[in-house]
């Protein structure tokens, strides 16, 4: 991965509290797994930035190396890699994701 790609990824993570590296956009996901994570964040009303890795082959490969994680989507919360679709889904279902957001001071919709 070249420095430009690395810096670009780092700046996305630094400037957005919740970052979702995904295939497609939150409004038009191009992959079921990306859509699933995007939907969970939407349901929780988390203000997140979706970054479409399909727009750049270097970004698509770079994020895998950056996180040492072979698949997309990938979620970062305040600079911490939280996981891909399976982990985030599991955390969403057992409430750990909500706990993590709370702990990190991220606004989200709590259950009534």
């Amino acid at each position: 991965m070249d420095d430009n790609t690395k810096n670009l990824i780092q700046s996305h993570i630094d400037t957005n509290e919740v970052c979702l590296f995904m295939k497609g956009t939150p409004d038009a996901p191009q992959c079921g797994f990306s859509m699933a994570v995007s939907n969970m964040l939407k349901i929780l009303e988390v203000n997140y930035k979706g970054i479409n890795v399909l727009e750049s082959q270097t970004l698509r490969e770079g994020i895998k190396e950056f996180s040492d994680w072979p698949t997309i989507p990938q979620v970062y919360v305040k600079g911490e890699f939280v996981g891909g679709c399976d982990i985030v889904k599991e955390m969403y279902e057992n409430g750990e994701l909500q706990k993590k957001l709370e702990l990190k001071g991220i606004n989200f919709k709590k259950k009534d």
Binding site: F33, K64, D68, W69, P70, T71, F81, G83, G84, C85, D86, I87, E90, M91
Partner: protein
């Protein structure tokens, strides 16, 4: 680009001999799978570490030959 269930199972078994592995072909296309893996090797590790262990056992095939493998890990 596809892998059969046996191949996935063999690779995971090599890395984690004590693992119990259940794999489902989700779409019937040998390219979208779901795997539940139970192993004592997961104990004391974070979910990210556990999933990385599974990815590593697949020796770089994940994201390449293998398009989609939903993973669920359980500690024994």
């Amino acid at each position: 680009m596809a892998m059969d269930i046996k191949e996935i199972e063999t690779l995971i078994k090599e890395a984690m001999p004590d693992a119990t592995i259940e794999i489902q072909d989700l779409a019937g296309d040998s390219n979208h799978y779901s795997a539940t893996i139970t192993s004592s090797k997961f104990s004391g590790k974070s979910k990210i570490e556990q999933h990385k262990m599974v990815y590593n056992s697949l020796k770089g095939k994940m994201g390449n030959e293998l398009h989609a493998l939903a993973i669920k890990t359980k500690e024994q």
